[in-house]
């Protein structure tokens, strides 16, 4: 269970939001909405512990994610605006090494299965450098098929994806939620995702 209390975010000399709080239970989805520059990405990075909140606290299972980071991080899978892929490695290498660095052992077969699931098995052995924007995004998202973390934090996962990939991803998220996972999401598109409970959080610029 992820709890946020009284969060405030200051960037540069602007206050983006304050007094923001929510509780996210197993199986539920949190939609973060807002215009460009309203602070969605900043909020998500805060929830990962990458950005220190100006005020407020974030708790995982009742414990501060700051002071109990080793317990929190294995439960978290974050995907930001950046894909975190190395241009000179192949899609498969990227996926496998990425999972290992996140502390998870993944066989080549499992990684290939993940790439197949999101429909880019053909590009598995190409260096990521030659892939198009959408294909790169898919390689990054393939990690979700390998992830065993209950909490997913995804910053505009549908950006740059075409219709087919969007559906596959939405289905995967629904499945994750059905299995008791949690997901926090931002998106400028409207993608239907099935969840036990969906909360929308709207940030105003």
């Amino acid at each position: 269970m992820l709890t946020a209390q009284g969060l405030a975010c200051v960037r540069g000399d602007r206050l983006l939001f304050k007094d923001l709080g929510f509780v996210l239970e197993a199986g539920s989805l949190l939609y973060v909405l807002g215009e460009n520059g309203s602070g969605k990405s900043s909020l998500l990075r805060m929830l990962c512990g990458l950005l220190m909140p100006g005020q407020g606290e974030i708790l995982w299972a009742g414990k501060s994610i700051k002071s109990h980071a080793e317990q929190y991080l294995p439960n978290l899978k974050y995907l930001g605006h950046l894909n975190g892929l190395k241009d000179d490695l192949t899609a498969l290498e990227n996926l496998q090494m990425g999972a290992r660095i996140a502390g998870q052992d993944v066989t080549a077969a499992a990684a290939l299965a993940a790439l197949t699931a999101i429909g880019i098995a053909r590009c598995a052995n190409l260096p990521v450098r030659v892939l198009s924007q959408g294909q790169k995004r898919r390689v990054a998202l393939a990690a979700l098929w390998l992830s065993r973390s209950p909490l997913w934090i995804l910053d505009e996962p549908f950006a740059a994806l075409d219709v087919a990939a969007t559906e596959v991803l939405a289905a995967r998220i629904s499945e994750h939620l059905a299995a008791g996972g949690m997901t926090i999401l931002t998106s400028h598109q409207d993608v239907p995702i099935k969840a036990k409970s969906t909360v929308s959080l709207s940030l105003s610029a």
């Binding site: 200051v10 960037r11 540069g12 000399d13 602007r14 220190m52």
Partner: protein
């Protein structure tokens, strides 16, 4: 108690408080400086080896002391800023750096001005001189880092970390330089050979050092006020202040 501390550590309350303190420190500095100068020039006797040139120590040594002392204080504020995530501490560290660098530069220049008549050369690669030069580089690195990061909070924390790394390194640098110098035995000149100081000389140096100290506090407070104004320029209290004319 700690409630008070947090109250005064908010820029809004600290700004006027600092404004009230500044004149006191300036007065103290002026007074100490006047007495110190009197002692240095009127009371302290002529040095029989170095003649009147030795009077340079009355700025040189206090400046050298302050240059090192300010670095330590700066690192202290930086550590506190990092540990407690206190904005004011980081701002104090930032406010001290230019003054520290100035004293370092003064120590170097006045030392050279002393070295020319005493040693016949403006500069030798003596251990203490060299480490003073390196201290100047450390100050400048700190200032350059802070000024090139646009986000103030990040600049604070990055600067604080650098100051701490520097403080760990200062003794290592100092001893390595010393060792380097004695090994090469290049310069036969050693600042340690300065004659035993008369009590009045020591008094003069102490007074001047105290004056510099008070001055540093005053100037650091002035600078911290500037930093607050610049950082919080769009906050209500600064706007209100600016319309009132900064009083």
């Amino acid at each position: 108690m700690h409630m008070n501390w947090f109250k005064y550590s908010s820029p809004q309350t600290f700004y006027p408080l600092a404004g009230k303190m500044i004149p006191w420190f300036f007065w103290a500095a002026s007074l100490l400086c006047a007495v110190g100068l009197y002692v240095s020039f009127a009371i302290a006797p002529t040095d029989f080896q170095q003649g009147e040139a030795y009077r340079i120590i009355f700025v040189h040594v206090p400046a050298a002391w302050m240059s090192m002392f300010i670095y330590l204080v700066m690192a202290g504020w930086a550590a506190m800023g990092l540990a407690l995530n206190a904005r004011l501490s980081a701002m104090m560290a930032q406010a001290l750096a230019p003054t520290g660098a100035m004293f370092t530069l003064l120590a170097l220049v006045t030392g050279s001005l002393w070295g020319k008549p005493m040693w016949g050369t403006w500069w030798v690669w003596d251990a203490r001189l060299t480490s003073e030069l390196i201290l100047l580089f450390l100050y400048l690195g700190f200032m350059a880092l802070q000024s090139s990061i646009d986000d103030p909070r990040r600049a604070d924390r990055a600067g604080a970390l650098l100051a701490l790394v520097g403080v760990v390194n200062v003794p290592i640098i100092y001893f390595s330089v010393k060792w380097w110098n004695t090994l090469h035995q290049g310069s036969t000149i050693n600042m340690g050979v300065a004659p035993k100081m008369a009590a009045t000389m020591l008094l003069g140096m102490l007074l001047m050092a105290l004056a510099f100290w008070m001055y540093s506090v005053a100037v650091a407070l002035m600078r911290v006020r500037c930093i607050m104004l610049e950082r919080e320029r769009s906050s209500d209290w600064v706007k209100a202040l600016s319309i009132k004319g900064g009083k």
